[in-house]
Symmetry: C2
Subunit: 359 residues, 2 copies
């Protein structure tokens, strides 16, 4: 019950406190016989290091924090997986925090992280408004890496995907399929991801097409369904025939609502999503989507963070930008024939890796 400390261990092993500490942190500095005795004492007492004391002494912790925008979105859990592997390789622990698109909660998390003196923070911010908060972290010497968010900032790294390009890919695809009335579903527009994807879409249109924007309050399936209702309620000759959604959750919601109301996908309405989460391919009308290298995003971000944490002075801030890739599936194919399975190509993998190298 009462946790034993290093002093008890020392006593039991008949050595000094410093020696026990050395056994734990610099095992080669201590004679094998002594080391053995100390290790036995540790085992007998069930001694476990007290991380608070250790951190207090060291001045900083050995864990990095990931603040995710929305854990319920599989996109972020995939990014997380990448960060986790990189973290393991770098020998640091990873703790996860979920802001859930809630600015207040995000702020609370950052406060805690600052008090904890974490080694660094990987964050996809709720909005640009937290910027001053992040500046504060950086001033205090806590490295910050922006994830899935580009940045011109010179005092931090960022890892992002070219969302404008992604939007353009989607737009060009829809235009090429001959759609005249096109809709963009997404929001809130305070998220750069949303505005960028919208911008790309607009840039891809030739002017012959009509564009309609259906703003949503967030990026969830439920919001997608609500947008889907509005689309389905339009008369067939006013209804957009091509819909680009700011992420796959929205797209799945729209898709579901179409099916439920008898609007055929892709014959009546073509749908293109964004992120290419696993559920996109698993939808019974497999969803076309703009694929992002999710795991790599996380891995690259964690690597940059570790690099900065390990050598703050030599470190040069970098802004890595990956290229997205359009994956066309049945939901936006004019031909109704079943699309073949589209496994991730080796070529695509190679391309992502290349993009990661500093430009």
């Amino acid at each position: 019950m009462a946790t034993s400390n290093i002093k008890e261990v020392a006593q039991r092993a008949g050595v000094s406190i410093g020696t026990v500490s050395n056994v734990l942190n610099h095992p080669d500095m201590v004679a094998p016989s002594t080391r053995q005795r100390v290790l036995e004492a540790i085992a007998e007492l069930g001694y476990v290091r007290n991380d608070s004391a250790r951190q207090l002494r060291a001045g900083r912790s050995r864990t990095i924090a990931v603040v995710a925008l929305d854990l319920a979105n599989p996109f972020f859990t995939d990014v997380l997986r990448g960060a986790e592997t990189a973290g393991e390789d770098g020998g640091v622990n990873i703790m996860i925090f979920n802001s859930g698109e809630d600015a207040a909660r995000e702020r609370r998390h950052l406060d805690v992280l600052e008090e904890q003196r974490v080694l660094g923070v990987l964050i996809t911010p709720v909005s640009d408004a937290v910027d001053t908060r992040l500046e504060q972290l950086i001033e205090r010497g806590i490295p910050v890496v922006l994830v899935d968010r580009g940045s011109g900032q010179h005092n931090r790294c960022s890892v992002a995907v070219d969302d404008v390009l992604g939007g353009r890919l989607a737009g060009e695809h829809l235009a090429q399929q001959g759609h005249q009335r096109i809709a963009f579903v997404g929001g809130p527009f305070s998220l750069p991801q949303v505005t960028d994807r919208h911008t790309g879409l607009v840039a891809a249109l030739t002017g012959k097409q009509q564009l309609q924007v259906l703003p949503t309050s967030n990026l969830t399936v439920a919001a997608g369904r609500r947008a889907g209702e509005r689309i389905a309620d339009l008369s067939p000759d006013a209804r957009p025939t091509g819909v680009f959604c700011a992420n796959d959750l929205l797209a799945l919601g729209v898709l579901q609502e179409m099916t439920m109301r008898g609007v055929r996908v892709p014959q009546d309405v073509a749908i293109v999503g964004y992120d290419d989460i696993d559920f996109a391919a698993a939808a019974a009308v497999p969803l076309s989507s703009v694929r992002q290298p999710r795991e790599q995003l996380g891995r690259a971000a964690a690597q940059l963070l570790l690099e900065e944490a390990n050598d703050p002075h030599r470190h040069q801030h970098r802004h890595v930008v990956f290229r997205p890739e359009l994956v066309v599936r049945e939901s936006s194919s004019r031909t109704t024939r079943r699309a073949a399975r589209a496994p991730r190509s080796a070529a695509a993998d190679a391309r992502d890796t290349a993009a990661h190298d500093p430009a």
Copy 2:
């Protein structure tokens, strides 16, 4: 850069260290004018408490840890949401760890948590093998609550859903629909959730039906697709007409593979999943599924943990068991007519709440 400490604040405000501490922790003990001066000094210096020192002194941290089995499974992110709200209400921070069905990683996380002297741990263990590890945590005085896992243990609380009942609901449903050849898709069988659901299914069958088991190595969409291939490859008169999957990810994988290979759902094969994650309803053939009160599961677990942490001696360990509920949608309806949307009923909510009260 150099982080300021309480001493600098004291100096700047012209008071003693103890007074600054009192301003932070017992503001009413200090005269308004002094308090004001101290707060100003804090603001000017950008002082932030050092949590390590605080914890060292206090002996324990103010955060609880959630170790999730697989964050990529929306089931767990929903559970998490419940835990987060309960944590906020209780005034503790929540950090999330992901074991990803990997025992070694789970173990590493537990080691760290023990060193951190967290307030408590919410965990869905990878297997029963970690039990000794958890015992150790408990001995050390760190409360542990099992999530989504029943337990006869008398030294910890648990919050679970009656998985045997859930399996039976699914089985009865399939039997009632007249299916003669039924398959169970799920694994690994080291997970109690899997064996329990299987057990329930078996119990529901009358003996007239044939049961085939398709074991999987994990509970992912990919594993479901592989199982789906095997099912689709069977000749129509050997193929099961009713499939019960141990979770929705598997079910979605099976569903996708059926659709892709021209096996009609539900006409040729009926599918029932488990968890009723949002994506289940969003599938274009909406998925029948056994619903668990996910958020409540998390909330109840966190509440039990807080109760124990706040008053370890008076606390009585409890084992809360929720009742699952079958939600029938199109994927298992003999009639092909579109199923109506099935929003969560108020009655169901009430029932869950009732179940939460100690029996």
